[in-house]
Amino acid sequence: MDLRFRDVEPTPEERAAIDAVLGPPPSAWEGGARTEADLRFASGGHAARERRDQLLPALHAVNDRIGWISEGALDHICRRLTVPPAEAYGVATFYSLFSVKPRPKRVLHVCTDLACQARGADAVRRSVEEQYGPPGVSWTPSPCLGLCERAPAALALEAGETPKAAVYGDLPHDEPVDLTERDEPAAEAAVPQAGDPSLVLLRRIGRADPASLDDYRANGGYAALRRAFDLGPAGVIREVLESGLVGRGGAAFPTGRKWEATARQPDHPHYLVCNADESEPGTFKDRVIMEGDPYALVEAMTVAAYAVGCPKGFIYLRGEYPRALRRLELAIATARSRGFLGDDILGHGFSFDIEIRRGAGAYICGEETAIFNSIEGHRGEPRTKPPFPVEKGLFGKPTVVNNVETLVNVLPILTMGAPAYAAVGTPSSTGTKLFCLSGSVHRPGIYELPFGATLRDLLELAGGATGGGLRAVLLGGAAGAFVRADELDVPLTFEGTRAAGATLGSGVVLVLDDTVDMARILLRIAEFFRDESCGQCVPCRVGTVRQEEALHRISRRPPGADSADDLTLLRDVGRAMRDASICGLGQTAWNAVESAIDRLGVFSPSEAK
């Protein structure tokens, strides 16, 4: 590879930000000052290229410091890592949190997604527009920020030597938004059940100081890891298999089988990736765990790594979670300094460490193979399966990918024992589940219930729907399905929702009362998939655009007008997206719209919205 640069120098500030992440450049070949030796010996090459996975952290460094990524900054990163500039440009332009054009240091991200939409995001958007002018410069509309219990919400990101982030929740509707800094409510404010002794996964939230390892241990922390060391790796996998645990990230795959298959792979090292990209609109459970009980994730990852034989684990954390990032960084550093991470953990001869990698605004990077590409410094496009991650995952090595909630379930499995754990819930959906209640509901937040509770039970716990009456509930998020107000007896289990033609997905329960404009909600869903498609395959790249266009046409017609052609078109395109797309994004992009048409009767001639 023979790199060609366009001779644009980075500013000293850009250079400092990049070199702070990558270390000082060893020679002029990698962007340092020229010495006589550089004229005689080439360096960089393979060694620099091996660090390609530092591309995303380096882009973050510039974006965090300057607010955007200039040609000079990009070139310097490319020199440092021997990455072709065209590829690095392709990566930088993939993520919505990065800009390759100048912009102000401070940008306000205003959520216009589903839960906020149901609570007046349109009005907030109007007042922000009045205050700050058209979107794109100092503010931008944003997909779900994972703050849905505080909807409508916004997030301000400010670049600088110490980058700042501020979140704003429960924004007032028709008055100017007040952006003075204020304290963010504690993580437990999102857990209406906090303190309830029957909680399993959420039991420490609000009780133990999330910053304190001692508090964590005083509340049962690290009992599971000790039990894991007693059982040995094979014993841990056996427990997880017998517990019946299935993944909570959306695909509901049996966790024990994934671990077993990866542990068996002869190729090494094995990697562990914790999927903390949480970007499904309406999902915020992983954020609450990471903010409220970060050591639990650290311990759970250590157990998983011990079972599967991983020396290294990554947490792929969505870029819009500043507080989770701070808390996890502290938890990891503290655990490391106290011998719970690093070499020879607790004297058991097992070594493991965790690195956090931040996403940069791309829902698709939550797809398990897109995560690998993103971490490795490529565009976050899903890979073709097979090969599956258990064979060839991160850096081409056997890899376990698990969701945050899935991982923390391993702690009660080990402390209670698999039989006791499996006794909770139903035979096919064992344990407890976190539900993300949002939208038109009196007490939104994260709820933990044993599998088997019905949607009605859950809504009652949350104080029922606001407004005049319940219109519909979106289960599973934008990739999920709507159920009607007369279907509240559906049991919230994997099998129960499947039998009802819906899905639990990531645990989204988005409540919509009769004041919510369903056509707007569907348009937002379509817009979300159009925005978030990676663009790799035709059914999704173009299909999501055509779906949005058709919905626009339908919703512009007077209620009751004939939209038969557009409905046929939606079905035809939807079916091809489901059947022929590469990954789950395209395959599910029509689910919610289809269920709104078929189950709710939205757009049927008799239905005047």
């Binding site: 023979d2 040609e71 590829e87 073709t384 990676c534 395959c537 266009e549 078109l569 079916r575 590469i582």
Partner: protein, 288 residues
């Protein structure tokens, strides 16, 4: 020259549209279809490249699979039952053609019109306001033209320019979703990029989005006439490698140069000299 013999490959049997066929292990479903003479349309598949399976026009139904699978990349497995023309497969192919034809100019994509007719695709059903990839043609050098109005984002040019062949990495995919395009860094002109004008991207482009400047100019002038052209395969005279050139000649002038993909050494790739260095042959004074 001796060619090392490959160890014999095990044969496995699969069923394509009810017909049993035996193919060597490692073959794709597309190979099996070719063996039975079953036509499956392909666009992003390239005979000299690793399948990217991005266009999805080749999808077929495989028994037991939740979704359709791309024939061009999915490996045949013993006992697989493949349906190439089931209602489900044909539906997706038709819609993929509609989605492409409604957003991209397929006028120079060989066989596109034929397939659109065959599958009954109606790209116009998305209405006159359907979004397209329309943009100005990029003419920034004398050798080849990039007309991304015709680009289906098949990634072939990127793979040919990158680690699969040329290792120049002058172009990559930038942006995301419908806004994604093939681009140099910061969308700089090709002359400011790492491009070495090997034209290997032009060789693999399935749509004519990348074309010789000579072809582009003749098409613009309305003088391009493929039916009149002859093709002569010869050996490049510039250096000792001995690449094969296929000279496309119209009215006794070379109008473009391709290279046979089945050449065991070069697989259709050339350098700037073989690809574009033909002008001297025809620098004959016009008065003879």
């Amino acid at each position: 020259m001796t060619v090392p013999l490959q160890p014999p490959r095990r044969l496995l049997e699969i069923t394509v549209d009810g017909e049993a066929v035996r193919v060597p292990e490692g073959s794709t479903i597309l190979d099996a279809c070719t063996a039975t003479g079953t036509g499956v349309p392909t666009l992003c598949y390239g005979d000299t490249l690793t399948p990217k399976n991005a266009c999805r026009v080749c999808v077929v139904e495989v028994e037991g699979s939740r979704t359709l699978v791309p024939a061009c990349s999915r490996k045949a497995e013993a006992g697989m039952v493949v349906g190439t023309s089931t209602e489900r497969a044909e539906h997706s192919r038709k819609v993929v053609l509609e989605l492409l034809a409604s957003s991209v100019d397929l006028s120079t994509t060989p066989r596109a019109a034929e397939w659109i007719e065959e599958y009954g695709a109606r790209p116009e059903r998305f209405g006159p306001d359907a979004a397209t990839v329309e943009q100005p043609v990029k003419v920034d050098n004398d050798l080849y033209v990039r007309d991304y109005n015709k680009c289906i984002l098949c990634y072939k040019c990127v793979d040919a320019c990158g680690d699969q062949w040329q290792n120049s990495f002058a172009i990559a995919v930038a942006g995301r979703g419908f806004d994604a395009t093939i681009s140099t860094e910061h969308d700089a002109p090709l002359t400011d990029s790492a491009c070495v004008y090997c034209g290997n991207c032009v060789e693999v482009c399935p749509t004519g989005a990348l074309s010789f400047k000579s072809e582009f100019d003749m098409r613009t002038a309305g003088t391009w006439n493929e039916a009149e052209q002859t093709r002569t395969t010869t050996i490049c005279s510039y250096c000792g490698v001995g690449c094969n050139l296929t000279l496309h000649v119209q009215e006794n002038r070379i109008v473009k140069v391709t290279s046979p993909h089945d050449n065991p050494v070069t697989h259709g790739n050339l350098c700037i000299k073989g690809r574009f260095g033909f002008q001297h042959v025809q620098n004959v004074a016009s008065d003879g």
